[in-house]
């Protein structure tokens, strides 16, 4: 069985105040994360403070852009084209909701190494997604 990746229409992210730098970096092909200057922890999704120690001393960092598939599911019904949703654990240790793209979706496995790539939403906003290395 093979389920080739097909482009789908991606709903625009309804950004909240403070989210802009994340999507501006994505438009430049960079995946960024917030890191705490006090406890050192990365977190995701990005906040204006550290959810682990409540410090406001947080700054944007370029992520390595690599990770492994923590879990995934291929949506096959009720969607115009099949797509693969996933939780990817980044090299920095945080796990994010994303899609696995540009591959045979049936070949996706938990634990598989992946790297970041970007797909545009219907309004032209770049969304970080991942593809097998």
């Amino acid at each position: 069985m093979a389920t080739p990746y097909r482009e789908r229409t991606i709903t625009d992210p309804q950004m909240n105040t403070g989210d802009e730098p994340y999507f501006e970096a994505a438009a430049q092909g960079r995946l960024v994360l917030k890191q705490c200057g006090d406890c050192g922890e990365y977190h995701h999704y990005p906040r204006s403070f550290c959810p682990f120690c409540q410090s406001e001393n947080v700054s944007w960092r370029d992520a390595k852009g690599t990770g492994t598939v923590y879990s995934y599911s291929i949506m096959r019904r009720g969607t115009p084209v099949p797509f693969c949703i996933a939780y990817v654990t980044l090299a920095e240790g945080v796990t994010m909701v994303t899609n696995i793209v540009d591959c045979d979706l049936d070949s996706v496995r938990v634990g598989q190494p992946v790297k970041v790539t970007f797909k545009k939403s219907e309004g032209g906003i770049s969304m970080p997604m991942f593809t097998p290395i």
Partner: protein, 398 residues
């Protein structure tokens, strides 16, 4: 302060409808309220505490309280999705123990079947061809999730996929949960799915979101239910069997800033707290209502509640171990959300109702657990895959 023995469930009512295109949601709330009060032998004017959640039309509890004509001195609109009504039982017992009310009414209703809001699958909308279930303006996580097509079913599917990876759980084991529910539903004339299913039937149903198949999902039904909780002095004057609240607890789990762990639910916190308050152990539970939005939901919660070791849930549910009469842990003897009813896409209410039936000896004779003296009802609201609230209540027939 413990609530053990401070309050009783005096009335329970499950609306018989599963499709109600000709009734408003408010009317269904009213019919459920009257049903539970009649069951208890009480009247609407006896109610002084009201509990409802996000399914209630209008803002908080105002509109339904107005609709019913309630005169209240206590109100609680705690919203934890499908587990809200189990939380409400806990909160009602607390309020009664604290002297804040005497007769607490909890209602639920909704019409997702008539209104076409399954919640478990997409329908078409806009250019993307997918409904995006936004929870309103300013929700901080949504820009980082919804564009990826996150939905109830594929988020639960990722819990199942991870469970298979970490613990070797199989699709056959998931299927056994549905099979057990179908064995019970055949005896419930109101159940949406009364056909007895085999493991093969479940495995032959189409994949919706790997590894979950259509038959791993609960039904979509209109309807509702209600409960009446009251203090011991009042409960003892009523004609119904006494169902005592021995322990209850709730907990919340989320993505922990990116330290996502799908292997357990908030039930791992609420379960032990409820058992400790009730002063019983999982071995004492004769019957368990376990929220069954999907088959995987049951497996994860059974582990978290301590009915088996973490990771052994798949093996535990296999070979009919959840079937009343033959299995070790009779569960969801009404057919559960998987086969009977999942009103308003919220299963916590019916979980408590069937536990009350079992303790009263009023379940269908073919599924009634013998000497059912201690029962548990447990629910998960929201999504195991990202954010959810779990609630556990332990009840005793006195």
């Amino acid at each position: 302060m413990s609530i053990n023995g401070k309050a009783y469930i005096a009335g329970a009512f499950e609306h018989p409808t599963r499709k109600a295109p000709d009734k408003s949601t408010a009317q269904l709330h009213a019919e459920c309220a009257r049903g539970a009060l009649a069951d208890a032998g009480l009247a609407m004017q006896d109610v002084d505490g009201y509990f409802c959640a996000g399914d209630a039309p209008g803002s908080g509890g105002f509109s339904v309280a107005n609709h019913l004509g309630l005169k209240l001195r206590h109100i609680d609109c705690t919203e934890t999705g499908g587990s809200s009504y189990i939380v409400h039982v806990n909160h009602a017992a607390q309020a009664i123990a604290a002297g804040k009310c005497n007769v607490a009414l909890i209602t639920l209703s909704g019409r997702p079947r008539s209104e076409g809001a399954a919640g478990t699958s997409f329908s078409n909308q806009g250019a993307s061809g997918m409904v995006v279930y936004s929870r309103g303006m300013g929700v901080p996580d949504e820009p980082f999730e919804l564009p990826y097509g996150s939905a109830t079913i594929n988020m639960y599917a990722m819990v199942a996929m991870r469970h298979m990876y970490e613990f070797g759980t199989t699709s056959e084991q998931l299927a056994w949960v549905k099979v057990a529910a179908s064995q019970h539903a055949q005896h419930n004339p109101n159940a949406m799915l009364r056909e007895v299913l085999t493991v093969k039937d479940v495995l032959d149903s189409p994949l919706i979101a790997d590894p979950l198949r259509r038959m791993d999902c609960c039904v979509v039904s209109d309807g509702g239910g209600a409960l009446v909780v009251t203090r011991p002095e009042i409960a003892r004057q009523l004609p119904r069997p006494l169902v005592k609240i021995r322990g209850a607890a709730e907990a919340l789990k989320h993505q922990m800033g990116g330290k996502v762990d799908l292997s357990y639910s908030a039930g791992a916190a609420s379960g032990p707290l409820a058992f400790a308050e009730a002063k019983v152990t999982p071995a004492d539970i004769k019957y368990a209502s376990i929220y069954d939005s999907f088959t995987i939901t049951v497996i994860v919660q059974i582990e978290d509640l301590g009915f088996c070791k973490k990771g052994d849930g798949g093996k535990f549910v296999a070979d009919g171990n959840l079937i009343s009469g033959s299995g070790k842990l009779p569960f969801n003897t009404d057919g559960g959300g998987l086969c009977n009813n999942h009103p308003a896409n919220r299963g916590g209410m019916t979980k408590v109702i069937e536990a009350v039936r079992q303790l009263r000896g009023e379940a269908h004779p073919r599924v009634q657990v013998k000497n059912c003296d201690i029962a548990l009802a447990h629910g998960t609201g929201g999504s195991l895959g990202h954010r959810h609230g779990s609630a556990t209540v332990i009840l005793e027939r006195e």
